[in-house]
Point group: C2
Chain length 109, copies 2
């Protein structure tokens, strides 16, 4: 059975209230909103295509803000909207991994 | 590069306030809590192993409550804790798809 979404992107939007850092303090919501709007504007959203999803803590906080693209299991970090645009253009549309934005494999909580 | 998590499970915990149904009204939080506790108790949680994650709306509301296991992209629905136990025992631990709990492919929003 094929995957319900060709690509399923999860953004950590976790907000901590205990003083520790969290993705929400690094503009994760704005990045999510921008990615979701871009995917929708390009006509890529929906079943058989792409879903941009809110997620709770993905537990790789040291690299935050973070997002992960499945089923490829490619993890990204990003600074601004142009980074998100590059992930949409290259990875989400063409299936290319954006190596310069990949989260290093040893980055954890 | 191998996947940061061997299996990454996302539970929809979306709560709607507009009167439409949502996974949160179908005990999604309790299922998530039970799954997370079981995975932790079995020593399966963490990098290189399993992450049980909160997610926002996965947009397959008609089949709610729903969860998806990546990188396999296998979608489940469930009724009680014994269903979650079966997903943990068979899919998360042994990599078997629990066919009786799979979401039919045409279930959408």
């Amino acid at each position: 059975m094929s995957s319900y979404y060709e690509r399923h992107v999860f953004f950590c939007l976790n907000q901590r209230s205990n003083g520790e850092g969290s993705c929400a303090e690094h503009n994760a919501q704005a990045a999510f909103d921008h990615c979701k709007a871009r995917v929708k504007a390009e006509g890529l959203a929906g079943a058989g295509k792409v879903r941009v999803n809110k997620a709770g803590c993905l537990d790789r906080c040291a690299g935050g803000p973070v997002a992960v693209v499945y089923p490829e299991a490619v993890w990204y970090t990003f600074v601004d909207h142009s980074d998100i645009d590059e992930i949409v253009e290259r990875h989400i549309k063409r299936g290319e991994v954006v190596e310069r934005l990949q989260l290093p494999p040893d980055v954890g909580r």
